[in-house]
């Protein structure tokens, strides 16, 4: 039996808190990391890096950001893209305007700026609840986009409003090759993913979930609801800001304000629906799904149907299938791919017994 917890007793609370409680899981994770760092850069090609791996990683991070806010703290947001935009444009400007600032520092400052903006747009959540709250996040969405299109200072007066990536150099190493961009993205995502796991399994994460599940009760047991909500907005936006900067600089290499429009916010929302709300792993699964699914579908149809269907029509079908899949997920597995994965693991654990 591969998947067995026999003999692995948890003897200390500290150990019980570990992310992977089983030895097998820890090994698998280490192997995955080793693979991602050592093998993938050696065997990947441009297409894999630029069209699949980097976008999956960046979108996972964005999903993670939204998940912290929506999945854990229960505040529905349709403005994720706005915070990504803030992150991207802030990073760009920090790098541009402060001579000699290391790239990573600009990135973190960009993220912090996004966090600050998120905090401001989170303020209404102290009074507004439920669906009414989406007005605040949509206000962020439209307002931020307007600011970046209207004030060309943010894009260094480029006539087209498009910003382009600064040279990606860290400690003197040039990371602008596809593999380099991939490694940079991977590192940021792994680090922040780990941090997110720490947060949600700790005191702060519990407070978020408490506020999500019932804020009156949370207040009654002494949790400061306003502070908790605002922290959720700030930290979530920090993540989204970093994701936005990576989107602009390691993925596309350029971005315009329109690149962070409402449909991007929806895309990120779909990632967490499909992946699973209130799950860290889910973001990765969801992002992978959302990137790979359309590619797969169009690849399959081009190779199988060989042009029998008009590509535009195909895209229509794909849109419909995608919508149907979302509904299907909500009906069959409201907790997303993460739950599917967990159930599979559980089955494996008790296999060959039935429940």
């Amino acid at each position: 039996m591969l998947y067995k917890e026999a003999g692995q007793f948890i003897t200390e609370y500290r150990l019980d808190k570990r992310f992977f409680r089983l030895k097998q899981e820890r090994w698998a994770f280490a192997a995955l990391l080793a693979f991602a760092y050592l093998v993938v850069p050696a065997i990947g090609n441009d297409y894999w890096f630029s069209a699949i791996l980097i976008p999956v990683l960046v979108l996972s991070l964005a999903g993670l950001g939204l998940n912290l806010l929506t999945g854990y703290a229960g505040q529905l947001s349709l403005g994720s893209a706005a915070f990504m935009a803030v992150g991207a444009f802030a990073t760009y400007n920090f790098h541009l305007r402060i001579e000699g600032l290391p790239l990573i520092a600009s990135l973190i400052l960009g993220g912090l700026t996004a966090g600050g903006v998120g905090l401001v747009f989170g303020l209404p959540s102290l009074r507004i609840k439920g669906f009414y709250l989406i007005v605040a996040t949509l206000a962020a969405q439209f307002f931020v986009q307007w600011v970046f299109t209207t004030f060309s200072w943010f894009s260094n007066n480029s006539s087209s409003g498009v910003i382009t990536a600064p040279p990606l150099q860290i400690l003197g190493t040039d990371l602008s090759t596809p593999a380099g961009r991939y490694l940079l993205t991977l590192t940021v995502v792994v680090a922040l993913g780990w941090l997110a796991k720490t947060i949600v399994s700790g005191e702060l994460g519990r407070k978020w979930m408490a506020v999500r599940d019932m804020d009156t009760a949370a207040a009654v047991i002494g949790i400061s609801v306003p502070k908790t909500k605002l922290l959720a907005f700030a930290i979530s936006s920090f993540y989204l800001g970093i994701a936005g900067a990576l989107w602009a600089f390691t993925y596309l290499g350029t971005v315009e304000p329109h690149g962070f429009d409402l449909s991007r916010s929806f895309q990120i929302l779909f990632i967490i629906i499909i992946g699973g709300m209130g799950s860290i792993l889910g973001n990765f699964l969801g992002a992978a799904f959302i990137v790979l699914f359309p590619i797969l579908l169009s690849q399959i149809s081009t190779s199988l149907l060989a042009g029998a269907i008009d590509p535009g029509q195909l895209e229509n079908f794909q849109k419909m299938i995608f919508g149907a899949l979302i509904i299907f997920f909500l009906i069959k597995e409201p907790n997303g791919l993460a739950k599917v994965w967990q159930t599979a693991k559980q089955r494996l654990r008790v296999w060959p017994l039935r429940f």
């Binding site: 529905l76 209404p124 009074r127 507004i128 609840k129 439920g130 669906f131 009414y132 989406i134 007005v135 605040a136 949509l138 206000a139 439209f142 307002f143 986009q145 307007w146 299109t149 209207t150 004030f151 009156t216 009760a217 009654v220 409402l262 929806f266 929302l269 779909f270 629906i273 535009g312 029509q313 229509n316 079908f317 794909q318 849109k319 419909m320 995608f322 919508g323 149907a324 899949l325 979302i326 509904i327 909500l330 009906i331 409201p334």
Partner: protein, 293 residues
Amino acid sequence: MSFFFEVLTGGLLAGVMYSLVAIGFVLIYKASGVFNFAQGSMVLFAALTFVSLVERGVPFWGAFVLTLLTMAVLAWLIEWLVLRPLVNRSPITLFMATLGLSYIVEGLAQAVWGAQVHALEIGINDEPYEVFGILLSQFDLFAAAIAGGLVALLGVLFNKTRIGIALRAVADDQLAALAVGIHLQRLWLIVWAVAGFVGLVAGMLWGARVGVQFSLSLIVLKALPVLIIGGFTSIEGAIVGGLIVGASEKLAEVFIGPLIGGGIENWFPYVLAMLFLLVRPYGLFGDKAIERV
């Protein structure tokens, strides 16, 4: 001064156009607690179906009835395939399902009718009237009259009939509604079909105004602040909200826009709605959430 009033009346009339879309939302929210993001796609779908039928030579009323039937079938499919399996789930789940739904409907509309832009003439000439030096759009006046009629009709439906109570019951607690024997499915079918009808009316008017094409589905974004200011659960709120949003955004664009860069209409209503909510967290006429411990 007359320019001010011109902008104001223009804004108020434009606001009624937003209300038309918002009403469809309110209807569904009130009836099932579902925040239906697909309302915009339904408007698009209805308008596209109607205009395509007209272009294929179907007479006006024939096309209207056929489209209405199509919307009813759509409502039935939605009830059967989406709402029924999701009964008694959290509002946020249903909201997300409607996001999925909007994808399906948009894809379907384009797959069936193509992506071209269509002109739609519904026989109202839009030469402006001039009253005391203020321009009044014939078309917008007509649209306002229709919206008024719809509101009156729906007001009666909600407030004066048993269906009204049943709908509100469903919105409150689906499990309990089931337990007292309310036919959720039948009710939903009715409501979604009526929302389809409202969508068709909105789609025809908007289509005649801006042409029938994909971005018709984006007018939900104009309807949202209207809805929020008025309150999700109030039809009258949708009208009042529309007037407020329409008038204020036009005035803001004309008088504040030039000072801070112009093009502020997209976010202004949202910020306005946000300020409204800070004072009234459930909009002007919305039901308060009841929480007892």
